[in-house]
């Protein structure tokens, strides 16, 4: 598609001016200069929109006008089905694919940086109740949101953000997913999810497959099922909070590193490990309605669970850890169980073993470890 007038033209204009003046400015434009395209609620969609003076109305149109490497700056307001008629055909509405194609409101198929000008709270991508993902990322290298420059993703029957298989090095940051089925689903490899919130969704807050993702400083709260579902590996899950979700704080399989997270007040387990070999260190597991950490029967290869704070869980069984990894012995030394004397009756949490399983807890930590998770606000 033809490249159109926008901010970048000022750069090229300057280059031409300097060249005309006889100045040498390096190579003859072998490297394309990244440009900034603008989207706003007073924009008008066209194949040439995007300059600061002529913003686009829809993010979809802007993506179509952009080249890989460009930045898209989105103003505050609503993007989606603007007139609420259930269709996406009126001027300025997003080019949703409902029941076909990507099943999404906004498809990001180029390596773009897409950020908001006023943050997630003020910038709403609204799927209008359609059975779609709000944002579907199918290109590597996309940056979608940054701290204080993200989006609210809402009213979609599928995911808030879906990062597709086959992609790598996508960054998703500073976003709020609320009122969708699953907040964020991350496939592919080597993605970074930082400082996002998934709250009040019908399914899971964050779900990961593929390999080598980083999830840091996110909050999953009040989702109907799990806060985080982490499959495959090796993902680094650090400094996140998961609380008040309907089922588990974390649901884990594969081979992953969980460090410095907090799982509190979830409706079932703080952390359920289905199978795999994981590093579980420096986490805080408190006030979950069922067991703090459940080790399923495929977890015998867990090398160590250490330096975690595990207490205040399951007022009925009082199990901070329930080991069903049969037949194996799990090492869970140097954890703080709520009392200097180690695991035991309340106010400490106990360690419970299924038939044929055993857990080594001595020496326990005698005092609480300092938490490393940083609150978002």
């Amino acid at each position: 598609m033809e490249r159109h007038l926008r901010n970048v033209t000022r750069v090229w204009g300057l280059a031409l001016l300097l060249t005309g003046a006889g100045l040498v400015i390096g190579g003859p434009g072998a490297v394309a200069e990244a440009g900034t395209l603008n989207v706003a609620n007073n924009g008008v969609d066209s194949p040439t929109c995007g300059a600061a003076a002529t913003p686009c109305r829809s993010i979809s149109r802007t993506i179509a006008n952009a080249n890989a490497g460009d930045r898209i700056m989105v103003g505050p307001g609503r993007y989606g089905d603007l007139d609420g008629d259930g269709n996406f055909t009126s001027p300025g509405e997003e080019a949703a694919e409902v029941g076909v194609g990507c099943f999404c409101l906004i498809k990001v198929d180029k390596a773009l940086t897409i950020v908001s000008r006023a943050g997630a709270g003020a910038t709403v991508l609204d799927a209008g109740g359609a059975s779609v993902s709000v944002v579907w990322i199918q290109a590597s290298g996309v940056v979608f949101g940054l701290a204080k420059k993200g989006f609210t993703l809402t009213n979609g029957g599928r995911e808030g953000v879906l990062v597709e298989w086959g992609t790598s090095a996508v960054t998703v940051a500073g976003n709020l997913a609320r009122g969708v089925q699953n907040g964020f689903i991350v496939l592919g490899s080597g993605h970074r999810f930082i400082g996002n919130v998934a709250s009040g969704n019908g399914g899971t807050g964050f779900a990961m497959g593929g390999s080598g993702h980083l999830a840091s400083g996110n909050l999953a709260t009040s989702n109907s099922v799990d806060g985080f579902v982490v499959n495959d590996g090796v993902h680094v899950i650090t400094g996140n909070m998961t609380s008040a979700n309907g089922r588990n704080g974390f649901f884990l399989s594969g081979e992953n590193q969980l460090t410095g997270n907090i799982a509190s007040a979830n409706g079932s387990f703080g952390l359920e490990v289905l199978w795999g070999q994981h590093v579980l260190s420096g986490n805080a597991i408190h006030g979950n309605q069922s067991v703090g950490i459940l080790l399923g029967d495929g977890t015998s290869r867990i090398s160590a669970i250490s330096q975690n704070n595990i207490f205040g869980n399951d007022p009925v069984s009082n199990c901070g850890l329930w080991n069903l990894s049969w037949p194996s012995t799990i090492s869970a030394t140097k954890n703080f169980w709520g009392a200097a004397s180690g695991p035991g009756a309340a106010p400490a949490d106990n360690v419970c073993n299924g038939a044929g399983s055993s857990t080594m807890t001595a020496p326990p930590a005698t005092k609480e470890f300092k938490g490393k998770a940083k609150p978002l606000f």
């Binding site: 706003a40 609620n41 007073n42 008008v44 109305r57 103003g75 505050p76 307001g77 609503r78 603007l82 007139d83 609420g84 001027p91 006023a118 943050g119 997630a120 709270g121 003020a122 709403v124 609204d126 701290a147 204080k148 420059k149 993200g150 609210t152 809402t154 500073g174 709020l176 609320r178 009122g179 709250s199 009040g200 909050l219 709260t221 009040s222 909070m241 609380s243 008040a244 907090i262 509190s264 007040a265 805080a284 408190h286 006030g287 207490f311 205040g312 007022p315 009925v316 709520g338 009392a339 309340a346 106010p347 400490a348 949490d349 938490g371 998770a373 940083k374 609150p375 978002l376 606000f377």
Partner: protein
């Protein structure tokens, strides 16, 4: 009853040793009481080595001026039997119809922030936290609480003043996320989701700064007089972003976006000042049944009118940006609509470019 806590112990020790404390001896030292999920409630709990299990017990053990630090985890009906009678559970009060009654001027903050510290009323037919004393500090930036499962998340009662509420998340409460009665309270950096009203103000002189109301029926609703709202965001609420009656309210640097019916609805009253706000992507941008002045706002991208004057009066709306350098009009600008006899709106001179809005995102 106050317990013998570290701060007081030092004072007593020094006194016993015969040291002259002078004026210090006459002033009670503020103490810090601790609450944690591995605590045990008692009439003396609260020291770092013997935390309380419930916030209610820590409040009972505290004196005015004390600080209560709450560890991560769940507080409320721990075993989910609906009774609040098991060890370590909070002590609901009939007097305030609330799960946790704050009836002393204490500071209550969490150690790990709202996302990790959950006060769950579990469907109790009342509010999660009721504040009945002036001067209470409930939460701070990054040291707040999640308030959920109540009729209201937090209720500051009438007759109080000077209460500070900060850094909290109220979600899935029925009527109100945060309800402020009384006078001169400050709410900052809180978020409210999934309630009928995210924030509700009564009486006079409250200040709301940097809060987010998203996914409620109404984001911010207020009555009374002289409230100041600055730097707040109301978005994706199903009816109104901001809705108010009363007199003399000041709204500046707020954002109302993607609210289904009206972004900012001045339903009645007079003397309101609406300046430096951004109103985008709502059904109607701003509707005025009452009167006031509007200036330096950005009003565009709303489905119907950017401004709907239905007050029956003349309203001064000069120096606003309506989405185009040519002033109010057809898309992509927003228009100004006057309804009813006597309604008129002065828009010229208008701003020819967008005004900077100073709202700061929560995250």
């Amino acid at each position: 009853m106050s317990t013998l806590l570290p701060g007081r112990s030092v004072l007593l020790l020094l006194a016993v040793a015969g040291l002259g404390l002078g004026a210090l001896a006459g002033a009670a030292e503020a103490a810090t009481l601790n609450v944690a999920n591995n605590g045990v409630d008692s009439g003396t709990c609260g020291a770092a080595a013997s935390p309380c299990r419930s916030i209610s017990q820590a409040i009972a053990n505290a004196s005015a001026g004390d600080r209560i630090v709450v560890g991560p985890g769940r507080y409320g009906d721990l075993d989910g039997d609906g009774a609040f009678t098991s060890a370590g559970e909070e002590a609901p009060s009939v007097a305030c119809s609330c799960m946790i009654k704050v009836d002393k001027a204490v500071t209550i903050e969490s150690r790990a922030g709202a996302g990790a510290t959950v006060l769950d009323a579990g469907g109790l037919p009342g509010t999660v936290v009721g504040i009945l004393a002036s001067g209470v500090v409930f939460g701070r930036a990054k040291k707040g609480f999640t308030l959920t499962g109540g009729i209201s998340g937090l209720d500051v009662f009438s007759g109080t003043s000077g209460v500070s509420v900060a850094g909290n998340l109220a979600t899935a409460n029925v009527n109100f996320g945060f309800f402020f009665d009384g006078s001169g309270h400050v709410g900052s950096g809180n978020a409210a989701h999934a309630s009928n009203n995210g924030f509700y103000l009564r009486d006079s002189g409250h200040t709301l700064t940097g809060n987010l109301a998203s996914g409620n029926v109404v984001g911010f609703a207020f009555e009374g007089s002289g409230h100041h709202l600055t730097g707040n965001v109301a978005s994706a609420n199903s009816a109104y972003g901001f809705s108010f009656v009363g007199s003399g309210h000041l709204l500046s640097s707020n954002v109302a976006s993607a609210n289904d019916q009206v972004g900012v609805f001045a339903q009645a009253g007079s003397g309101h000042v609406f300046s430096g706000n951004a109103v985008h992507g709502n059904g109607v941008g701003t509707a005025w049944g009452g009167t006031g002045t509007l200036s330096k706002n950005n009003l565009y991208g709303n489905v119907n009118c950017g401004m709907n004057n239905q007050s029956g009066s003349a309203i001064d709306a000069r120096n606003n940006f309506w989405g185009a350098a040519t002033g109010p009009g057809a898309d992509p600008a927003d228009n100004v609509c006057n309804f009813g006899a006597g309604s008129s709106t002065t828009t010229a001179p208008f701003s020819t470019k967008e005004s900077p809005v100073k709202s700061r995102p929560l995250f």
